[in-house]
Symmetry: C2
Subunit: 414 residues, 2 copies
């Protein structure tokens, strides 16, 4: 038996002190965390070098090694992100609604911290600090379980953050790192009922599915985005070209990048050859149905392609008979993340917006805009693709719950 449950219990024991801390104390802790990371830069970078060395030795791809690597510049960016949280709007204590009852009772619904937030994530060590910062700002304790590839970096970072918390009079266990990076440790997290108030898996579809299937603690699913761009018969084709290029190419490795292009048959002949050329020049490999193979020179798409979040310079293309078929395709293959229509037809736009079930629906805009930063929410802990509690970019507010406070002078029920 590993140390996961005792760690969760330690975080739970720390949660009341984190929740009781005033906004000034929590902001001071964020400042202290930022300063401590700057002071500890050398030791963190040394720890990171161990991870990078091991990744190199293990033949990890250059892209993955880049994601893993910390530099003085990146360390500065990490501290800056903590300081940006200081100025972010405090979610704790907000009165969501308030009213008086006929009998004189005063009711306020107040935003309060959730308690203990656990997060399972892959790859980049900056997520350790980002997640800890969001937890501290929102008055929560956190339990973090990063990947084995970043274990030395994460351990060094968490150590610095814990010491900074202590230095501010907050419990070090406000930030707990699970150093056991076995699969078993994730499973134990999903079983920590009564100790964890919210578990956020952030990573590939496999990780997320296994957490959701197993979990006995409340989970918010994030991030799997099989996003579609539908080019309607009434689309401005120049706009459509710019949007699909941006949605596919600007940053293909992220969840709000497009994976499938759906084109109305009426404009397929005019649109597909030209956009295929542009996409190919940008390095995109196309697969598609028969019509797309003919018009776009795409390779044949397999059944699995329509359900795959490529996260890469690869795009599946389908020609549809009408908007109904496009909406049907999205209902069958989408992941409730972001879906876009390009059209000048008001009624088609209205139809798409109403009938497509997703966290975000774009009309004449790139799928890439589904993002807490772009929406002006500040830092985000992920993009929820579920319907309960949070949908779309999750910021500080989504890391809270509410409590009704009812004040009276002796009221009883008739």
């Amino acid at each position: 038996m590993s140390a996961v449950l005792p760690l969760c219990a330690a975080a739970k024991a720390a949660a009341p002190a984190m929740a009781r801390a005033s906004a000034a104390q929590r902001n001071a802790a964020l400042e202290a965390m930022a300063a401590a990371l700057e002071a500890a830069q050398a030791s963190v970078l040394a720890a990171n070098e161990k991870d990078v060395g091991a990744a190199r030795a293990g033949g990890t791809s250059t892209a993955m090694i880049d994601r893993l690597t910390l530099t003085p510049q990146r360390m500065t960016a990490i501290s800056d992100a903590l300081r940006e949280l200081v100025t972010a709007k405090d979610p704790v204590g907000e009165v969501v609604r308030g009213f008086a009852l006929p009998n004189g009772l005063q009711v306020r619904q107040i935003r309060v911290p959730l308690g203990v937030i656990a997060m399972v994530y892959e790859g980049r060590p900056n997520v350790t600090v980002d997640a800890a910062g969001l937890a501290v700002k929102s008055g929560n304790a956190c339990v973090l379980r990063g990947s084995s590839s970043a274990i030395h970096s994460n351990t060094a970072l968490a150590g610095v953050l814990r010491e900074a918390l202590s230095g501010c009079g907050l419990p070090a266990d406000g930030v707990c790192l699970i150093e056991d990076t076995s699969r078993e440790s994730v499973k134990e997290l999903t079983r920590a009922r009564g100790l964890i108030d919210l578990l956020i898996p952030r990573g590939g579809a496999g990780l997320i599915q296994s957490v959701v299937a197993d979990s006995q603690v409340p989970v918010v699913e994030t991030g799997v985005g099989n996003c579609h761009v539908y080019v309607d018969r009434a689309a401005d084709l120049d706009m459509a070209e710019a949007i699909i290029l941006n949605a596919k190419v600007q940053r293909p490795s992220v969840c709000n990048a497009a994976e499938t292009l759906l084109v109305h048959r009426a404009v397929a002949e005019a649109f597909l050859p030209r956009v295929a050329e542009e996409l190919r020049q940008a390095g995109v490999e196309l697969v598609g149905d028969t019509a797309a193979q003919q018009l776009a020179g795409a390779g044949p798409a397999t059944d699995a392609d329509w359900d795959t979040e490529f996260l890469d310079l690869r795009l599946s293309v389908r020609v549809v008979d009408d908007i109904d078929q496009a909406i049907g395709h999205i209902a069958q293959h989408g992941t409730l993340h972001t879906e876009a229509i390009v059209t000048e037809d008001r009624s088609a736009a209205r139809r798409f917006v109403t009938d497509v079930d997703a966290a975000a629906v774009m009309v004449n805009a790139s799928t890439r805009f589904t993002d807490g930063g772009e929406f002006g929410f500040g830092a985000e802990i992920g993009i929820s693709t579920q319907k309960l509690h949070a949908r779309g970019p999750m910021g500080l507010q989504e890391l809270t719950t509410t409590k009704y406070v009812v004040e009276g002078d002796g009221q009883v029920r008739e």
Copy 2:
């Protein structure tokens, strides 16, 4: 294999039509459901008689038989409740927030139906109609699984409601009843991943725990209330007496009734003998710690008593040394439902409100006020005791999710 998954699939297929229906159509459906129940009263009452007869033959308690029994008056109340929903504020389409981004994109976060709501409940057949009404009003399809004791009543009621939906041009499968009342059918519901958007168990602690432990679909826990009333050293003792009597006695079988009385040692001698007398006159059996046994003539409380939601005229009583011990007791034994303090001390009240983790915290008011009707929310589908998505009384708003709609004229990300 029972028909649970096909039924869930049927509800899912009906969900888009339910969601697309205008508020006028959904309200017309509620009116039609109410009228159809009135027209079908004789056949529903005949079906109910079968359930009541079986319950009598099975030696069911008088109280349970009363809960099960439908009468013409109760049928009228059921129809009236549907008609009240017509005038309730429509949750669908509300713009929760909206803003423009610097690049001109217009963002609106819009309230939309969840899709398919499943509910598992015990006892009373009116819940079938109440749940179906809330689902229809909020644009959702529903899958209902009531208890075996009410199966004839529920089948008759659901049949009437389904026909009324069809008559309004909405899919009958907007309301699906699971006629298989085996435990296995609940288990299958918890496995209906991708078909159910929200599963609400409403009933005893055993039912709720088994659903939560098993579930692979999103669940909101409702209703287990081991509620405490803490009488502070600075309490107005007359007020305290009125509140604990109301909280315990006014309707002991419900989740917001009090189960434990905590009394500050400084006022125990003045308070306990008098309140014990009043409680006993109201038929309440007292169990307690040594001090409560001496001062209130209580029987000895077992360890289990402090964790038990009696739902009956039984109260556990403990004398605590201070407010910290009261808060600690609640943290250990409470179920995050409703906790009350009686005090004239402003700082004690503030402390209790901040440090007690519960859906509702009462100051100088009965625990019985945690209720959608009392809060002015109209009908409620249950009282959530979890922190995610909904906390406290769940009304129509809590049966929805949101969707971001982003409209532009060709914006792409830099």
